[in-house]
């Protein structure tokens, strides 16, 4: 059996080194082609008429004037009369025309009559008595519970008690299984009573999940020597991908569709489009070279992607491009659910944590949103938790880097930081005192806190809360910790070595700017002993072996594992052909520095090209898979730990917060490319500063519309908001041997909590909610002064 395991450190030529991203030259020169850049011959431009109301019934649609306009090639009703609209900005009619301006004119010529319905866009604390018990569960509810690590028996009990809203089909069950559902849970779903009648009924906006109790919280609180209570939370924010969602679709004949789409899920889109456009998935080709950001919001074809294919058909199959306008991108194409909580947490005088109680709520739009996994990382022995999901009309939620975790980190780490302040303890000491509650990764966290503390100069800089300096400038320090799974997803690739020495690798994955191309090439080149640029890598097409969607930090583990197995098999296949020429056995050979040679013997060596010529006339092609239990070991793993520290300066006259320094210490098992791994962490810190200080999807209660659907008032951090950032990746013994684990989500979880804690440390009072805008900081200071 070939040895597929990762090479030991002294044998790695590329893996784990600091390798420059391979597609950077294309990106810096404007040559990288994104979906938005695709310009097909004879392409038409599509635009979408959107409902201005947050809740409405469509009464009538008159498209006659638009259809008569010169240059308009097709008009397509997406949602017709009698449809109920649940959020403002939802799609009603699409138009395709010879140019964008004509399409816009045509949109303005369409008349739609709506009957407005009452709406709710608030996610304020549910009024007393408003919340109803959780009704029957949907597959999505179960997925949320899995994400929140609800114990299996508890899930089974809830499914048995409440039943399901729909009969789960095989696809749904497979999805749950791949998301980690136990057999007991799957059996419960299969056996559950189905209440379609209840699902169809209008339900309360406030859905209370069953309370969860761990240990004996009442007893623990009565014995606690110090109890801290507080209010914490984060609002709904958007993904704000710079390349908006969208696609270009064309019918190459009446049975074949060719789609360019901005997607995180190249291999998974055709299957999601097939039924809706009545084509077998085999007849849908999808291609994408580069994607301008996804962050969890681009896994499906979306209603507008289906509409693009449909309107192309109406226009005689001509290519039609529909990319969302910026306002639509912010309104409908991606939002992270909010989460707020009233928390009570108790400890002994020495800081030992004993009890947690939380009443949390939040919204993810019509679905209500998931409940954050609190208390986060620190598993306090006695807990009582109650969560209420608010179903409202703000538009649908989507996965946003590390779904539910940043919210959980803010609620937990801020509550614990307040408790530490009440105990007059340095939070670093307080967290280390309770670190065993972070099992099973407590030793990783302990080591990481030590390194972060040194890199930040925590011991020199930290001061008790509120002693952040005199005058109008206050400095403060805060910290947080986080975890994520990140096991590699299903991945397949074909690696071919040609007799002329050229090598190609094909995989239906995508590179979100995370360095996926670079990492695949590193693994293949390291294994084959040839330079990365000697391998022709092709990704981003349904013509290549299917790969998982890039979500949940699952890509790197998947693509590196399938590539490693393919490269090992290809290498060994080549050895078998080359061995006779070197008078050796195949297992005596190695590939080093562009040669194939007898191990350690330069005198018995062939250049790569000579070696490949021994293949004869037919190229050698192998398929690499992940997972592949027939080719052990498991090359990927799950479960990482990371800690972050922030230093801030607050102007107490203006309420303006400036982050002065951030430190991230992160583990992700075996690092494939140190350079892009560090960039992932740096980017996450920056994105974290952005959501900690600036970002909020602001809804108007009167009109039900988003008030800041542009990039002036939906603020992203700019270059001058970014301070000194220090990233330290945990590598070497204790980390590398765990295998490859994803990194996209973990480092973006902690910044909000760490920065909020630093602000509290600086000004001596908690600013309850992110973003930490001047008005919120000033209002907290005022309350403190008045208290």
């Amino acid at each position: 059996m070939p040895d597929y395991s990762w090479p030991p450190e002294d044998k790695r030529t590329l893996i784990g080194k600091r390798i420059t991203r391979v597609d950077s030259p294309l990106k810096v020169s404007g040559q990288a082609q994104y979906t938005y850049d695709v310009h097909r011959p004879g392409m038409l431009y599509g635009k979408i008429l959107r409902c201005p109301y947050a809740a409405a019934k469509i009464v009538s649609i008159d498209t006659s004037a638009a259809e008569k306009m010169p240059g308009v090639k097709a008009v397509h009703v997406i949602q017709g009369p009698n449809t109920t609209i649940h959020w403002s900005g939802d799609e009603v009619v699409a138009v395709a025309a010879v140019d964008e301006a004509t399409a816009e004119d045509a949109i303005r010529a369409i008349k739609v009559e709506y009957r407005k319905l009452p709406h709710l866009v608030s996610d304020a604390e549910p009024p007393k008595g408003a919340a109803e018990e959780q009704g029957p569960l949907s597959v999505d509810d179960i997925d949320d519970m899995l994400d929140n690590q609800v114990p299996s028996q508890q899930m089974v009990k809830q499914i048995q008690d409440y039943g399901m809203t729909e009969k789960a089909d095989e696809r749904g069950l497979r999805m749950l299984k791949s998301d980690g559902a136990s057999d007991a849970v799957l059996d419960a779903v299969r056996a559950a009573t189905v209440h379609t009648d209840v699902a169809a009924k209008p339900h309360s906006n406030y859905q209370k999940a069953a309370a969860v109790t761990v240990g004996d919280p009442d007893k623990a609180f009565s014995e606690a020597e110090v109890v801290s209570e507080g209010l914490y939370g984060t609002p709904v924010i958007t993904h704000c991908c710079l390349e908006s969602h969208g696609s270009t679709s064309e019918w190459t004949d009446d049975q074949h569709l060719f789609v360019h789409m901005s997607t995180q899920n190249v291999s998974g889109i055709a299957g999601q489009m097939a039924e809706k456009i009545k084509l077998p998935a085999t007849n849908i080709r999808l291609h994408q070279d580069h994607i301008g950001g996804g962050f969890g919001s681009k896994f499906g074809p979306d209603r507008w992607g289906i509409a693009t294919a449909e309107i192309s058909k109406k226009a005689g199959g001509k290519p039609v491009r529909i990319m969302l306008e910026r306002d639509a991108e912010l309104k409908v194409a991606g939002a992270r659910p909010s989460a707020y909580a009233r928390v009570k947490v108790g400890a002994k005088k020495d800081g030992t944590l004993v009890a947690w109680q939380s009443d949390s709520w939040g919204t993810g739009g019509p679905g209500g949103g998931g409940s954050p996994p609190i208390p986060y990382v620190i598993n306090i022995p006695n807990q009582r938790k109650q969560h209420t999901g608010i179903r409202n009309n703000i538009g649908p939620a989507r996965a946003w880097r590390a779904p539910n975790h940043p919210q959980a980190a803010v609620i937990t780490m801020c509550a614990l930081d307040d408790l530490a302040a009440k105990l007059n303890l340095d939070p670093l000491e307080f967290f280390l005192k309770n670190i065993e509650l972070a099992r099973p990764r407590h030793e990783i966290y302990r080591e990481e806190f030590g390194i972060a503390s040194d890199l930040m100069g925590w011991k020199q800089k930290w001061h008790p809360r509120g002693q952040g300096g005199s005058g109008n400038t206050a400095r403060g320090m805060g910290l947080s910790m986080h975890t994520w799974g990140g096991r590699g997803h299903s991945s397949h690739c074909d690696l071919t070595i040609h007799p002329d020495g050229s090598v190609e690798l094909k995989m239906g994955t995508q590179d979100l700017g995370t360095g996926t191309r670079t990492c695949i090439l590193i693994v293949a080149a390291d294994t084959l002993g040839i330079p990365m640029n000697a391998i022709n890598l092709q990704i981003g097409d349904t013509m290549y072996p299917p790969d998982g969607g890039s979500g949940g930090s699952t890509t790197i583990g998947g693509v590196s594992s399938s590539t490693r197995r393919a490269a090992v098999d290809a290498r060994d296949g080549l050895f078998a052909k080359v061995a006779p020429a070197l008078n050796a056995q195949p297992d005596q050979l190695e590939c080093v520095n562009g040669t194939v040679r007898v191990k350690g013997d330069n005198s018995k060596s062939l250049s790569w090209k000579e070696a490949c010529s021994k293949l004869g006339a037919v190229p050698l092609t192998v398929r690499g898979n992940n997972p592949d239990p027939s080719k052990p070991p498991d090359l990927t793993n799950s479960g990482v730990g990371g800690v972050q520290m922030a230093e801030v300066e607050v102007d107490t006259d203006t309420g303006i917060v400036k982050v002065k320094k951030m430190v991230a210490v992160q583990d992700c098992g075996l690092v494939i490319d140190l350079k892009t791994a560090e960039s992932q962490c740096l980017g996450a810190l920056i994105m974290g500063i952005s959501y900690a200080l600036f970002e909020e999807k602001v809804m108007d209660p009167t009109t039900g519309r988003m008030l800041n659907a542009d990039m002036q008032f939906y603020r992203l951090a700019g270059l001058s908001d970014i301070p000194e950032l220090v990233v330290h990746m945990m590598t070497g013994k204790g980390y590398d041997e765990r295998g490859v684990i994803g990194l996209g989500e973990p480092p973006v979880i902690s910044p909000g909590a760490a920065i909020s804690n630093a602000v509290a440390n600086a000004i001596g009072v908690r600013v309850p909610f992110l973003p930490l805008t001047p008005d919120r900081v000033l209002s907290a200071l005022q309350q403190k002064a008045g208290a």
Binding site: T20, R21, D23, S24, P25, L26, K27, V28, S29, G30, Q31, A32, Q33, Y34, Y36, D37, H39, D99, E100, A101, C240, C241, L242, E243, H290, G292, G293, F295, E325, R326, L512, G513, T514, D651, I656, K658, K675, T676, E678, S679, L682, G683, A684, L685, I686, M687, S690, D710, M711, Q712, R715, L716, A717, G718, L719, S720, D721, I722, L725, P774
Partner: protein
């Protein structure tokens, strides 16, 4: 708001750079032009107490100098420079993101000054030297700013990158050894979502030392 957001300082300068292309100017042209018949040449009409040329509303012939080359197209006067670059001339390096002069992904040079191509009418870019990211490479060789971006991993998804590269080049051309203040000012009009600012800062530091 950032306390020291320099965008405000830049507004008068940028407006001046884009003389005649302010939103008000655009509205004036568009508003008046509805009433005039389709013509290829501008007609002079009285509006707001002065004689103004009126183009369109149909397509009019336009001529551009982009990256030193001549380009011709028949475009409606309402077409932006960005859309002309991307959809007419297939120069897709400059990106459309916010589409209203907020994010800088569409940044190009007009007579060596940075402008937001999304908020500039193509018709107003005639007779000017337009420089896009596509022109910076010399054959296969990257411009020093581009090279520094590559080495310092200053792009992730890369959608904001062409705009940043152009803005950095303009800033470095003006300030070969940029102060933090020069950098803050020069790049205040560009936004990134993936979080590549750290790499961009390091890239600028590298070019600032080596010289571009």
């Amino acid at each position: 708001m950032r306390d020291d957001d320099p965008i405000h300082d830049d507004v008068p300068e940028k407006t001046e750079e884009r003389s005649g292309v302010s939103r008000r100017g655009f509205l004036k042209i568009a508003g008046v032009s509805v009433a005039v018949p389709l013509v290829a040449r501008p007609e002079m009409v009285w509006a707001a107490g002065e004689q103004v040329p009126v183009h369109g509303p149909g397509k009019v012939p336009m001529e551009f100098t982009i990256n030193g080359k001549k380009y011709k197209a028949n475009l409606e006067p309402r077409v932006t420079l960005l859309d002309a670059l991307r959809d007419q001339f297939d120069l897709t390096g400059a990106k459309r993101v916010c589409d209203r002069a907020e994010c800088g992904a569409c940044t190009v040079l007009m007579d060596n000054k940075t402008v937001y191509a999304c908020s500039l009418l193509a018709i107003e870019a005639q007779g000017k030297q337009i420089t896009t990211v596509e022109s910076l490479m010399q054959g296969e060789k990257l411009h020093p700013v581009q090279q520094a971006f590559v080495e310092n991993d200053a792009s992730q998804c890369g959608f904001c990158t062409p705009g940043f590269v152009i803005a950095c080049k303009a800033m470095i051309d003006k300030h070969p050894n940029p102060s933090p203040e020069d950098i803050r000012h020069g790049l205040a009009g560009n936004l990134c979502r993936c979080g590549t600012y750290d790499g961009i800062k390091k890239a600028i530091a590298q070019v600032g030392q080596k010289g571009a």
